[in-house]
């Protein structure tokens, strides 16, 4: 069943060149979909459209079978509860003036959701592998990886159906990146996720479907395994070929499926 459906979407800033041009794809409920593209591919603009921060000039976006009504406050309140996001820079995405408690519970407060907000915040912190005692601290007391966990806690605290992640591990060190990718894998068993990233390796580790974007257009879309094994388009092929690989191990390390 389709949760999110993007139909012939086009977008341009001002009178400029199209940032997105006739973009169509669907996100099945429960799936992990990766939107892959380099700078200028339009992936960030697409994410803003999916978050209802901008409206497409052509085409439409359907969520759970209904078109996105970004101008209707009651609709958007419901949409915000059901769709959350994690951003790239954990140093910019947490308000430095607020304690973690206030940060994590912001969706609950702003959307006036019922329930014991403090308990929900503690649960969300446990879900992302953080000690709930961290709720009483300020963001600057945490490392990048810990901050990203807090940002993920905020995204899942209202139990959304869809989480959009915008380059959510790109700013992290390699060792931290692996741990946050693992965390996303855990979380993704409970909800639908869309990962926007330029990093093919990360997306491949997380997503079962890929959408490859280049200069505002979809180049190729399909199951991750098929695109990695048998890319159809020259752009996808050059993208995959450009990714630096580790030198072949003399003796195979660990598991490779």
């Amino acid at each position: 069943m389709t949760l999110l459906s993007v139909e012939n979407v086009g977008f341009a800033y001002g009178a400029g060149r199209h940032v997105l041009d006739d973009v169509s794809f669907t996100v099945p409920r429960g799936a992990n979909v990766g939107l892959v593209g380099e700078s200028g591919s339009g992936k960030s603009t697409l994410l803003r459209l999916l978050l209802g921060l901008d409206r497409p000039q052509q085409g439409r976006i359907l969520f759970d079978g209904q078109p996105l009504e970004t101008r209707r406050a009651t609709y958007m309140r419901d949409y915000r509860r059901r769709v959350q996001a994690v951003f790239q820079d954990p140093y910019s995405s947490l308000d430095p003036a607020h304690r973690v408690q206030r940060i994590v519970t912001e969706p609950l407060r702003s959307l006036r959701l019922p329930g014991d907000h403090a308990a929900m915040a503690r649960q969300a912190m446990t879900d992302v592998g953080m000690d709930p005692a961290a709720l009483s601290r300020f963001p600057h007391q945490f490392s990048g990886g810990q901050r990203q966990r807090i940002a993920i806690a905020r995204a899942i605290v209202a139990r959304p159906e869809l989480v959009l992640a915008d380059e959510a591990v790109s700013a992290l060190d390699l060792s931290t990146r692996v741990r946050i990718v693992d965390l996303f894998r855990q979380i993704s068993t409970r909800m639908t996720m869309v990962f926007v990233s330029h990093d093919m390796g990360v997306v491949a580790a997380l997503c079962d479907r890929l959408v490859v974007l280049d200069r505002g257009r979809i180049v190729e879309a399909g199951p991750t395994s098929r695109i990695l094994r048998d890319p159809q388009e020259p752009y996808t092929r050059s993208l995959l070929a450009s990714i630096p690989r580790m030198p072949a191990a003399s003796q195979p390390e660990g598991q490779s499926t």
Partner: protein, 330 residues
């Protein structure tokens, strides 16, 4: 921005290393747990991912002693101003001594050319300076913050227009604007002077607010707030104002100093608080003719003015360091 992870875990192998780089991962769990063992391998280390000691949310950019000097100066002037409401050595218009007496036990700060007690005038002047400074900054901040935040949120055209208005008004000397307001009100009074100075300061506050707000609006936590369903009014109240406050507060303290000095200038021109109010500015004006024969009559109000301006600025610095959780520096 200098927000970086604080308080290294005491058991971290090299607790100092992360100071090198704000993105350090020095305490993001032990690195040695091989991350590739499987998707759940990091599990056992997760709960330890928290700084051990809760560090104080304060960081100081300057020795606290300097701030304490600021607090002390402001406190002394504030208490003096309050005391002047109930007690002064003499009545303001009481010609209690002879002309231009030097400081003595009877007249701690000497007397002016009419024989009035200068210490009495200094005490009342403290009150007037505080009222003028606070009042003018309050009016300037009220107009300036509203206009600045509006400009930051406005569409391109309105933003450009407001920015231009700020710049043009700033190009007008505050004093000139204040003189126009006083002229328009036809008579000089304390209220007019405060209103005039407040209006004169507002474009400076507006411009600073606009820039600070724009900087905050570009942060991801604003987008995150919108995604969380936070409406624009709450975004301003909950995210923008707290984050511009540390910088704006320091700026307003500077404006306070400007206002007090501008009031002195207005008084000097005869446009400030009219008698029977005593203001440090008018004391300076009246001492002008006798500065060589009775230097104390000019030096003492000058020193008082200086102490207040310095005190307010140091206080603002100190309060920022104390209450800004992220310990940002200007």
């Amino acid at each position: 921005m200098t927000d970086r992870p604080d308080a290294p875990r005491p058991d971290a192998p090299w607790p100092d290393a992360h100071r090198n780089d704000p993105r350090a991962e020095a305490h993001d769990g032990p690195h040695v747990s091989a991350p590739a063992e499987g998707p759940r391998s990091a599990e056992p280390t997760e709960t330890s991912e928290i700084p051990a000691a809760p560090p104080s949310p304060r960081r100081r950019s300057r020795p606290a002693a300097v701030h304490w000097l600021g607090y002390a100066l402001v406190a002394v002037i504030l208490l003096t101003g309050l005391l002047s409401l109930v007690w002064t050595p003499y009545a303001l218009s009481d010609m209690a001594g002879s002309r231009l007496e030097p400081p003595s036990l009877r007249h701690w700060a000497g007397t002016d050319q009419l024989g009035r007690d200068l210490f009495t005038q200094l005490m009342i002047g403290a009150r007037i300076a505080l009222i003028v400074g606070t009042g003018a900054v309050a009016i300037g901040a009220a107009i300036g913050i509203v206009a600045g935040v509006l400009a930051a949120f406005a569409t391109r055209f309105l933003d450009d227009a407001l920015a231009a208005v700020f710049d043009i008004l700033i190009a007008f000397p505050t004093l000139l604007i204040a003189m126009l307001v006083v002229a328009a009100r036809e008579s000089a009074s304390l209220g007019t002077a405060i209103l005039a100075l407040g209006i004169g300061l507002s474009p400076i506050v507006g411009r600073v607010t606009r820039i600070l707000t724009k900087r905050v609006l570009a942060k991801d936590y604003i987008t995150a707030a919108r995604i969380s369903g936070t409406g624009w009014p709450m975004v301003v109240a909950d995210h923008v104002l707290p984050n511009i406050a540390p910088f704006l507060g320091v700026n307003l303290a500077l404006q306070f100093g400007l206002a007090v000095m501008a009031e002195a200038s207005l008084s000097y021109l005869g446009l400030g608080a009219p008698p029977p109010n005593a203001s440090w500015g008018r004391m300076l004006q009246e001492a002008q003719g006798t500065v060589y024969s009775a230097p104390w009559a000019a030096v003492l109000p000058g020193l008082a003015l200086f102490a207040l301006v310095i005190g307010v600025n140091l206080t603002a610095d100190g309060l920022r360091d104390r209450f800004d959780p992220a310990g940002r520096e200007g």
